[in-house]
Amino acid sequence: MAHSASPILCSLPQMLDQHSTKTPCIFVLEPDDNVRPALRHNLQHWGYQVIMAIDQEDAIQRIQAGQKHFDLILLNQGEYSLDKMMAIGQQIRRATKLNSPIPMLIMAEQYGADLEGQNVQVNDNEYVTYLEDGEQLKSILQQLCPTQERQLP
C-alpha cells in the first residue's frame, strides 16, 4: 500500500489491545453538508459504524445524551486552525469520561504539495493526516482502528 509507510504510528499494539471482535465505531465531526454523505459512505464501506456530528455543540450533546461507545474521533479541520480542532477533539474525548485516551485523527484542510500524503503524530494518540486521496484515510484508519479481529499468537 502506498500509504502504509507514512512516518507515524507508534503505540499501535496498545491500541490494538483496545479492540475486540465487534465492529469498531468512529465518532465523526464533519460540518460540511457536501462532505458528510460521502464520508459516511466510505467509513461504512470500510467496515466501521459511524456516529456523525455536525459541529462541536452537536458532538458534545450526543455524548452527554449517552451516545454509545466509540473507538476513534475523526475531525475535519474545516475553517478552523489545527490547534482549535485539537482542542475540540480533546473536549469531545473528555466528555466521554473513559479512562483510556481514544485516538484522535484530524483531516487537514489547507496544505501544500509538500505535506500531501503525510500522516503526522502530534501528541499521544493524536494525529493529523494530509490526505492525497481517500485510500490514505482508509490506510491510517486501519492502523489506528482496525476493522478485523486481531490475530492472537
Binding site: A2, D32, V35, A38, H41, N42, G78, E109, G134, L137
Partner: protein
C-alpha cells in the same frame, strides 16, 4: 481542415479556408493563464486536445469554474461582442495540449462581414450559455457525487484518453467545494468501481456507470450542443 476542434470542423470548407491563414497551432502548458479579468481579449483559442477552464474569483479569494472549454468549443467569444470587451473571468489551461489560436481582431472583422461565421459563432454562444446555465442550476441543486461524476464526464468528453491528471485541490476549486468533499466523493466513486483516483490521477474505469451516477445535466448540455452545432463535419453553412 482541422478536424479535432468541433467548431472548426462543422464550418463549411469555404468558411474554414477564409479563417485558415489566421489560425496558428500553439501548445498550452498546464496552469497557463490565457486571460485575466478586465484585460482586453487579444486572442481566441480553439482547443484540439487541451481543456481550458473559465473561472471566477470572488473578493474573498475563493474560485469556482463557470465554464469548461475543450475540443468542441472556443474560448474568448466575448471578443466578438464589442471592440474592447472584457470579462470578469479568468481563462486557465486545466489540461495541457494543443489549440488553434487566432487574433481576436481578425476573427471580429470576419464576424462582422461573414454571415456564415456569425451563424456558427452565435449558435456556439447559445450552446455555451446552455452550458453555463445548466452548471449554475447543477451547482445549486445536485449532490456532490452527481456533480463530480458530471464534471469528470465533461472533461473526459473533451479528451481522447481515460487517464486524467487532476489534483483533488484543483477539482475542488473547479466545483467550488472543499478539498475534503472531492477526496471523499472520489473515494466513493472508486468504491463503486467507476473511477480509480490516486495521487492526482483519475482513471475513468466505467463511463456508462459514471454517466448513470451523474445528474441529468451532462446529457442535457450534450444534446443542446448536438442540436445547435450538429455532429458531422461541414454541417453548418
Amino acid at each position: 481542415m482541422t478536424a479535432q476542434n468541433r467548431l472548426l470542423s462543422v464550418m463549411s470548407q469555404a468558411l474554414y479556408d477564409k479563417l485558415a491563414p489566421g489560425l496558428k497551432r500553439v501548445e498550452l502548458q498546464r496552469g497557463a493563464c490565457l486571460h485575466e479579468p478586465e484585460e482586453v481579449i487579444q486572442n481566441l483559442y480553439f482547443p484540439l486536445d487541451c481543456v481550458l477552464s473559465i473561472t471566477l474569483t470572488l473578493s474573498n479569494g475563493t474560485t469556482a469554474e463557470t465554464g469548461l472549454v475543450g475540443k468542441r468549443e472556443v474560448i474568448g467569444i466575448n471578443a466578438l461582442m464589442g471592440g474592447r470587451e472584457t470579462t470578469q473571468t479568468t481563462y486557465i489551461v486545466q489540461i495541457p495540449g494543443s489549440a488553434m489560436k487566432i487574433d481576436a481582431q481578425i476573427l471580429r472583422e470576419e464576424f462582422d462581414r461573414n454571415k456564415d461565421l456569425r451563424d456558427v459563432m452565435l449558435r456556439y454562444t447559445q450552446a455555451f450559455i446552455a452550458q453555463t446555465s445548466q452548471t449554475t442550476a447543477c451547482n445549486s441543486l445536485h449532490r456532490l457525487d452527481q456533480r463530480l461524476a458530471r464534471w469528470l464526464l465533461e472533461v473526459h468528453d473533451r479528451l481522447d484518453k481515460d487517464e486524467l491528471s487532476l489534483t483533488q485541490e484543483f477539482i475542488a476549486e473547479m466545483l467550488g467545494v472543499r478539498r475534503a468533499g472531492v477526496t471523499q466523493t472520489a473515494q466513493q466513486l472508486q468504491s463503486e468501481g467507476l473511477i480509480r483516483y490516486q495521487r492526482g490521477h483519475v482513471h475513468i474505469l466505467n463511463r456508462p456507470g459514471l454517466q448513470a451516477c451523474a445528474c441529468e445535466c451532462f446529457l442535457t448540455v450534450k444534446d443542446e450542443y448536438d442540436r445547435l452545432l450538429g455532429t458531422t463535419s461541414g454541417s453548418l453553412p
